[in-house]
Symmetry: C2
């Protein structure tokens, strides 16, 4: 049930139509660790600079996250600054300073190498492959990526996909990967390239999962206010991987349950800026929203 | 269980990325009648010119559609010509000739006035109101509209909404009606204006239904090819209204079942140009796709 995540740790300055935060805790690995910690013990790999708040790392530790793989380097933490448009689907990067993340090399601690579940958050696919090289035999590997690597590092990505069980991308990335705007055909092409399952995130419309012989669609939870979409995709992946690590159930039903927990975590995190909403969550609230997803989608037989 | 539809009857010339048809059978009332006829006896009100093919009217009659309310006028049938973009969400109207539809006055035949279920397809809201004036006491009234009336006839539309039970619009129309791009808030505003239920169509993302205390989301059926999106919204409404007329069950569960049947009908019609796909359908195929919707969305408890 051990769950490894490798990815960015950051300080984000984010402006949305509902407000602004400066130097909020960010980064895919951080969001993932917070969200997945409700389900399973998380092992986290990343890099921070001297400016990263110590209390965040101890908060994560208190939630059962092993932070021995988070390297503290001299220099500054990755800083990202962005502004979301009214529609929240579009954001502009205003500033990006990679800091210690520029030379990030994922060193998987000895004690992490037997991880059964591993999530490769969006980083250079060369590094994502090196993570897999260091694992002794994970049961399930999940992977994210982005347009930058799809356009600029395709051969490396193709080689990586052959070693990945579950790809988590958004609809634009799926189209970019396959040249096909139809998600049924795009998913079929992605499944042909290696992954056993492809989860396509569609923002406010939810998610659709394709695996051979099985399609599963979950709408997004209808929210009156979305404060900050940052981290929603990472928290979605965290709910999916976390629940799989907790249950160990990789059957079609187990996958469905996991995808709904992913949708639950994605729906919570956007209710406040940064990962703040996750810090006040309880498993009871998570299970209650799971039931609301059932109610939202339940079709009478 | 009598189901009335009032709306346009047309001849469409449609170009999509997958092909083109000239003078295909079109119009909201026609699509609605074809799709609803699987569920209940349909009473159709519209107007055609001398150029409208007789065999289509007899085909509808053979499907249990009462066409005594379809007036045959001297002049030409409404002709619309349009081209869909690659994305299928966007279409350009290339040509529009209203023909006999320009002076269309919905005269509800005496034998139709006791209709229990009535669908007001998208026409001038003044005419939609006049239809209601002629009915003796329908159990459920559904209503469609479009940006043209929302922008140009708002007071008439507002008065109409107070007499309508169920509004069927797409997400752009819901935003235009309320000035709110958030569908939860937009739906709340619409429910405040009269309808007991608002069904928001989201194209390839499915539909979300809001009624007080109940939200129900259904994804679209994942199709590898969409040949022609024309009529999808009308067939959706037809499945909803048809199933409600068939079952008479206006409970929350009955509404959900109807909305899924609506989604089924919308998913079928786009599989070919015009209403052609509907002409080869059977109730068995419809029920089979209903079960596929259950499989697509089923969340393990």
């Amino acid at each position: 049930m051990s769950l490894l995540v490798v990815g960015s740790v950051a300080l984000d300055t984010v402006e949305t139509p509902l407000g602004k935060v400066d130097n909020a805790i960010g980064g895919a690995a951080t969001y993932f660790a917070y969200a997945a910690s409700f389900f399973a013990p998380v092992r986290m790999v990343g890099a921070v600079g001297g400016d990263f708040p110590e209390d965040v790392l101890s908060d994560l530790e208190s939630r059962g996250v092993d932070i021995s793989g988070v390297e503290k380097l001299s220099g500054s933490t990755l800083r990202w600054s962005g502004r979301y448009h009214e529609s929240l689907n579009v954001r502009d990067t205003l500033d990006l300073d990679l800091g210690v993340f520029a030379d990030f090399q994922p060193n998987i601690p000895e004690s992490y190498r037997d991880s059964e579940y591993a999530f490769l958050a969006n980083i250079d696919p060369v590094l994502q492959s090196r993570v897999l090289d260091q694992l002794t035999g994970p049961r399930l590997v999940g992977c994210d990526t982005m347009n930058h690597w799809i356009e600029g590092a395709r051969p490396v990505l193709d080689a990586l996909f052959e070693r990945v069980d579950m790809l988590v991308v958004n609809d634009e990335e799926a189209e970019l990967l396959t040249g096909d705007r139809n998600m049924v055909r795009a998913a079929a092409k992605i499944l042909d390239s290696g992954p056993k399952s492809v989860l396509i995130k569609r923002g406010e419309y939810g998610v659709i999962d394709f695996s051979p012989g099985n399609v599963f669609a979950v709408p997004a939870y209808p929210l009156e206010e979305v404060y900050d979409p940052t981290g929603a995709g990472d928290c979605f992946a965290a709910g999916v991987m976390g629940e799989l690590a907790r249950s160990g159930d990789l059957s079609a039903a187990g996958m469905r349950r996991a995808i709904v927990y992913g949708s639950v975590m994605g729906s919570f995190v956007v209710e406040d800026f940064g990962p703040k909403r996750l810090q006040s969550l309880t498993m009871q609230m998570i299970d209650e929203r799971y039931r609301q997803f059932v109610a939202l989608t339940d079709i009478p037989r």
